[in-house]
């Protein structure tokens, strides 16, 4: 177990290093950040001064070395545009993104798992067919369209929910959170619903497929014959055995939503990470992009690690080595 953890940690360091190299190289092709921060009609002397201030007067290789050296000391570099530590900019926006993602994932799981179990256990019922068609819609409708429709209907036409923004926040352990206020919940419903639809549909379909597979097993019939209630059979024996792929996909989706909730965030003017990433790409703000992508890689590695741990808990036959 300890050996496994160490092995995963080393893998993670390697992945993060590769990400930093690739991003650094790629970003050198996306334009010169100096021209994004100074007036266009600046003289050469002013440009040189700006390069010096931003540390862009050195070669790319030197810049990378400086970056790596800083990082080993816990300094992730400063944004060219904001002139603030890149990590601070990201951490400042992370809680907002985590909020909609967590709420979206909870929505998705609460709706998708029971419906998936139902559709898998009763594949021939009309309701099951309706659920499956609905899930196809969930996968195929683009989130920007769903988001705009929700705003149009629920915010503009019927004025039930606000169209955008995060609402009131409160400080909790130094983080600004909105899910602790009523106003915050009022604001979070539409964006997290939009964000959850695709995940909901995918989890539903995976659960159903797993359940259909499990339903054919003899132990299901035995359990029923033994006198376990239908509900107990479905959730205790059926779902538990169908859960491995569901958890895998759940983990991947979680990482995906954290990293790329961009579109939903833009539509609902949600002050999360996605907006920062897009802006930084437009402004060629390399330090922010590098740290962002490294953080995303880190989150993926951690989630996958946790998913592996959950496997052993769901299925005691699995051990990690």
């Amino acid at each position: 177990m300890l050996g496994y953890t160490i092995k995963r940690l080393l893998q993670m360091v390697f992945v993060l290093w590769i990400v930093s190299v690739i991003v650094f190289l790629m970003m050198s092709f996306t334009g010169d950040p100096v021209f994004m921060v100074i007036p266009i009609d600046s003289t050469q002397a002013e440009i040189d001064q700006a390069r010096r201030i931003l540390g862009l007067d050195r070669s790319l290789f030197e810049q990378y070395l400086v970056f790596m050296k800083g990082m080993l000391q816990g300094d992730f570099g400063r944004s060219y545009v904001y002139r603030q530590p890149a990590m601070d900019l990201i951490l400042e926006r992370l809680p907002a993104t985590m909020e909609i993602v967590v709420v979206a994932m909870i929505f998705a799981a609460l709706v998708a798992v029971p419906l998936g179990v139902y559709a898998g256990a009763n594949p021939n019922r009309t309701t099951s067919r309706a659920i499956m068609s609905g899930s196809l819609l969930g996968i195929s409708l683009p989130s920007f369209w769903v988001g705009m429709m929700l705003i149009f209907l629920l915010a503009v036409q019927w004025q039930i929910f606000p169209s955008s923004g995060r609402g009131e926040t409160v400080d909790f352990l130094g983080l600004k959170l909105s899910i602790l206020t009523l106003d915050g919940w009022y604001h979070i419903i539409l964006p997290s619903l939009t964000l959850s639809l695709a995940t909901m549909a995918i989890i539903l379909r995976i659960t159903r497929a797993g359940m259909m597979e499990v339903m054919r097993q003899d132990y299901m019939k035995f359990a029923r014959a033994k006198g376990v209630s239908r509900r107990g059979v479905l959730y205790g024996h059926g779902l538990r055995n169908a859960l491995i792929p569901v958890v895998t996909i759940f983990g991947l989706q979680l990482g995906d939503l954290i990293a790329f909730a961009t579109i939903t965030e833009t539509i609902f003017a949600w002050p999360g990470l996605g907006k920062l990433l897009i802006d930084s790409i437009y402004r060629a703000d390399r330090p922010v992009i590098v740290v962002y992508l490294m953080l995303v890689a880190f989150i993926f590695v951690v989630i996958n690690f946790l998913v592996d741990m959950v496997y052993t808990w769901i299925d005691p036959r699995i051990t990690v080595k």
Binding site: D41, T43, E46, V81, S163, P271
Partner: protein
């Protein structure tokens, strides 16, 4: 009886409380503005883009104030005079206080200029050679050479508090403090910026007590937020939403031409990077043919939905250096036959091939305009290849010496209200004088123009400067080193309760606005 009186008493006091409560609400007017993006900075020397600029002018003040119509008048400086050709003496207004209660002193101005010179925005002080405080309320500024537009330049320099900046350092970006009409209450990145009126503002307290700016990037969401009443006014209303907002009761659309002039720079070098053989554009007839082949009215009607104003000259009417009555598109009206004839006369009846460099995410419909230009110039046999790129690549790519470009589409705005600042950098011969010609992308060079700009930049008197710059404008209209296309239109959507007149420079300023209680 007693009970009855008590009850009446109670009712009366409730009424009084209620009245004072509503009274208080009426006095505390609040306004919410939907911006296209969050401010990046609150430190005016850290960078510039529209949202940050809007914040700067709420939090700080310049020495010279530029009003909504680009007229310049006293700001923190009450008056100024020229003591010799290069020396200006500014007298500060009495009793101006910063948000922290400190009084504005000449040393704050000196400190501001000093810090500016070493910052990323040093360009703003490019014409200033030296400065010093004569006493607590007088500042002397010397320019490198006689320079009549100094007050215009100063309108872009916002005065900081020396004590405060020394205390917070670079954290000024997060703890801004100036003399402006509003104080920062809260800045939640990408969510909202809340401002509160500064009671002791030297021009009198603002009508609107609290102003909240909300960055809403997606145009459709911005419209939705307006229609749900979450915001009172939005910037850059999407063209497709204009009708919808007009139809909704209680909202209005407000438009005005912006300062941003979309221009096409023509390469004037003998050899041009993307043209094989000699550069045909060195021949004035070819340049005129190109000007005549481009139909700006069609671009405005078809591509911009009528929301653009064809530009008559290189700078708008309000500017020093504008020649009344001259219009590029009347001198060279759209006329393909005439254009073809000119091409034939110049010996290029069969045309030539070159590349247009343009952005695809900087100006309104920039990519479509580039495509339209290609099809228009094809009519006179110019085969225009398009090289479109995002702005982050573009401005480095076209940079002087522009050795990859023959034909460039870009925007240029002159918020200083003075054509000289544009002409000096764009039309002065390259590499002749420091600080001149650094964005002369077409490498235009006319000794007469250089001489006139030199003259304009060596008189401290605005009338003379204006006369010289008008001469330059006339020569440019004849020489065609650049084809002006159009000014984009600024479009705002607002609740009718808001009293708002858009500014030419696009800087929304709550101090000038009001809202019905």
């Amino acid at each position: 009886m007693t009970l009855h009186t008590d009850f009446k008493h109670l009712l009366a006091s409730v009424a009084v409380v209620a009245m004072t409560a509503t009274g208080a609400i009426a006095a505390d007017k609040s306004l919410t503005v939907g911006l296209t993006s969050d401010a990046v900075h609150m430190d005016p020397q850290a960078g510039e883009e529209l949202s940050s600029n809007i914040m700067y002018y709420h939090l700080y003040d310049p020495l010279v104030r530029r009003d909504a119509e680009l007229q310049f008048g006293p700001g923190l400086a009450e008056s100024w005079e020229l003591t010799d050709d290069v020396t200006w003496v500014f007298t500060l207004r009495d009793g101006v206080t910063f948000h922290d209660g400190d009084t504005l002193k000449a040393s704050d101005v000196v400190f501001t200029l000093d810090r500016l010179k070493g910052s990323l925005m040093a360009n703003l002080a490019a014409n200033i050679e030296s400065f010093r405080a004569i006493d607590d309320s007088t500042v002397e500024i010397k320019t490198f050479r006689p320079y009549a537009a100094l007050p215009n330049d100063l309108a872009a320099i916002l005065i900081l508090s020396e004590d405060h900046v020394k205390k917070v350092g670079d954290d000024l970006d997060r703890q801004p403090m100036g003399t402006g009409p509003y104080k920062l209450v809260e800045w939640v990145k990408e969510d909202r910026i809340a401002l509160e009126a500064f009671d002791d503002y030297y021009m009198g307290e603002a009508e609107i007590e609290t102003v909240t700016f909300r960055p809403i990037t997606n145009p459709a969401t911005r419209t939705a937020a307006l229609l749900t009443g979450e915001v009172d006014i939005v910037q850059d209303l999407a063209v497709r939403d204009v009708d919808r907002v007009k139809r909704s009761e209680g909202y209005e659309i407000i438009t005005r031409p912006s300062l941003l002039n979309l221009v096409l720079a023509l390469d004037m070098r003998a050899k041009s990077p993307t043209i094989e053989g000699d550069n045909p554009m060195t021949d004035r007839r070819v340049r005129e043919a190109m000007a005549r082949a481009i139909d700006v009215d069609t671009i405005s009607k078809i591509i911009m939905n009528g929301l653009s104003t064809p530009s008559a000259q290189y700078v708008p009417e309000s500017h020093v250096g504008h020649v009344d009555g001259e219009n590029f598109h009347e001198i060279y009206p759209f006329d393909v036959e005439k254009a073809k004839a000119l091409m034939a006369e110049a010996g290029y009846a069969d045309g030539f091939t070159m590349t247009l460099d343009a952005t695809n995410n900087r100006y309104v419909n920039d990519a479509q305009i580039a495509q339209a230009l290609a099809s228009m110039l094809a009519k006179i046999n110019i085969d225009l290849k398009l090289n479109l790129m995002p702005k982050s690549n573009f401005f480095g790519y076209i940079r002087v010496p522009s050795d990859q470009s023959s034909f460039i589409m870009s925007g240029w705005d002159v918020p200083s209200g003075d054509a000289g600042s544009m002409y000096g950098v764009m039309f002065y011969s390259r590499d002749k004088k420091d600080g001149y010609g650094q964005v002369n992308r077409g490498s235009y060079s006319n000794p007469e123009v250089d001489a006139l700009i030199d003259k304009a930049d060596s008189t401290p008197r605005v009338e003379e400067r204006d006369a010289h710059l008008q001469e330059v404008t006339k020569i440019l209209l004849k020489d065609i080193p650049m084809i002006p296309v159009h000014y984009e239109q600024d479009i705002y959507g607002a609740s009718t309760a808001v009293d708002f007149t858009p500014r030419t420079d696009k800087f929304l300023w709550a101090y000038d606005m009001d809202i019905e209680g």
